[in-house]
């Protein structure tokens, strides 16, 4: 008996040690990025990210640079990120919820084929299409514009899939009730069904906004001039082999992460439910 008790204590101590080490690994980068953002960039070139800090050199200058450095370019990036995130989230939710609803509620010719196509598109990585999409964007005059960053991926198959899974569970009686009341099909959707789908909108708003705020590969290709870049691409452009921009880079990185972490702290459930619906359906 005593033996198994000892074993249990060892086992649970071991598991806490493991959990603590892994959470340290997950959280430490945030701490070190924050810490480094209070030191001049020259320190970063000399030492890299380090335990070995010289507290006498600590100051807030890097955060002043966000407003003034390089003619205030950081504010342009922030503005671009906000505009693109807002537009693409609103547009994406509006369009993909309609498609998901249509696929879930109606029986029509080609529905199964369309759904299979949604799944196929979901399975193809964006990265494969960068060259032809770049060529297409030149023809459509989308290069270096906000719409260029938004349009190609705004009708996200993942969001369609998510809304479809949600809408399948909606009570069909409302549909007939609406028809008897003389609603058009669109009226039924906007007045009756869409309000019922609000929880799904909540989860998707957060996931889409996060995806678009963090989006990297496509904006890297379609946005060209410095004033048009989004935060991730702008920050990326500051990383050079000579490492001479760390002042602005580190404070800028910190300020780009903070909004998302705040949203996460207040909406944890939405993040997690958004990930798991259907994700694990095989």
């Amino acid at each position: 008996m005593k033996n198994s008790k000892m074993q249990n204590i060892l086992l649970s101590t071991g598991s806490y040690v493991l959990l603590l080490i892994v959470s340290l690994f997950c959280l430490a980068p945030f701490f070190f990025l924050l810490q480094s953002s209070f030191f001049p960039g020259s320190e970063m070139i000399r030492k890299g990210i380090t335990f070995n800090v010289d507290f006498s050199k600590m100051n807030f200058d890097n955060y002043k640079l966000l407003l003034e450095g390089k003619d205030g370019i950081y504010l342009y990036w922030y503005k671009n990120s906000l505009i693109i995130t807002l537009l693409s989230t609103v547009l994406s939710l509006f369009l993909t919820s309609m498609v998901g609803y249509g696929l879930a509620v109606y029986k029509f010719k080609g529905r199964n084929l369309l759904f299979i196509i949604v799944l196929i598109v979901m399975m193809v990585p964006v990265e494969i299409l960068i060259l032809p999409l770049y060529k297409l964007s030149i023809t459509m005059k989308l290069i270096d514009t906000h719409w260029g960053a938004i349009l190609p991926f705004v009708v996200s198959p993942f969001a369609i899939f998510f809304f479809r899974q949600y809408a399948i569970g909606l009570p069909k009686d409302f549909l007939d009730a609406g028809r008897i009341d003389g609603c058009t099909e669109y009226g039924i959707y906007f007045k009756i069904m869409m309000p019922l789908m609000l929880p799904a909108f909540g989860a998707m708003t957060i996931l889409q906004a996060m995806g678009s705020w963090n989006s990297f590969v496509w904006p890297l290709i379609v946005l060209r001039s410095n004033e048009m870049l989004t935060l991730p691409i702008g920050l990326q452009s500051l990383i050079t082999p000579y490492g001479n921009n760390y002042d602005l880079l580190l404070s800028g990185a910190v300020m780009s992460v903070i909004p998302i972490i705040l949203v996460f702290i207040f909406n944890q459930k939405a993040f997690i439910s958004g990930l798991t619906v259907g994700g694990v359906k095989g």
Partner: protein, 313 residues
Amino acid sequence: MSADVVRTPGLQPKKVKRKLKFKQENVAPYVFVLPFIVSFLIFFLYPIISTGIMSFQEILGPEDVKFIGLKNYQNLLNEHFYNALWVTTKYTFWTILVLIPLPILIAVLLNSKMTKGSNFFRSAFFIPALTSVIIAGLFFRLAFGEQETTLLNSILGMFGVPPKVWLQGKNTAMFAMVLLCTWRWLGVNMIYFLSGLQGIPTEQYESASIDGANAWHKFISITVPGLKPVIIYVITISVYGGYSMFAESYTMFAGPRSPGDIGLTLVNYIYQQGFNENNLGAGSAVGITLLGIVMIVNLIQLTLTGFFKKESE
């Protein structure tokens, strides 16, 4: 019978109305799905076809295009492409080897009622997934710097190991990239496995306890089989996440090029061919090859999960 006859006159006007509505009901579904159809045709089907065609062409300028058959594919048989394929495959292999067992272990620990503070841990593990790849790239680039004082080198120093030039060596750079990937995706995979664990009925564990099974036995004979669908799903997304890796290497090496091509992935190769060498044909051939790899992985996954069986029944 007679009741039917009585009702008939009343039905007449309704029928007309219903016919009109019937029409609208027929059109409405297509209006709802129209955004997807349009987006699919313009931003998916057309680019796929166009990259397929380009992969058989030599493109010297907008007007100067020549069909050259399979030559772009034959040209792929060079050491840069082999290297990119090898780096990508190794990266995928290591990320799967780490990002399946570790998140399963963590999910099991967090799912156990004995673990206190599991909400805190769950959030802590998930937070890295909220960041853009540039944040991860920036941190790992600086923590793996070659100076003696960087995080990794000072940790080595504690054990008396001399500092390393991490981002110049093949194996050390691979280690850094896999660690970066682990940092960003651990929490996401953990969430998948947690939701998988919730689907395993607790009675199975209870009856196993009565039979005297220990924790390890229960894990092997109940947990792992119960998680099989999730494991297959996570392996699949890891394979095509791994094979389409680009941003991690791009941010870590500050661009598409890395010393001795140690960070050259297949998508990096597409990017280099397309944007640095201006060779859209060769880049497209890599893209089509990659598409083939991803599609094979998907087919295997769908077969393993019995998708085709369900369809044919």
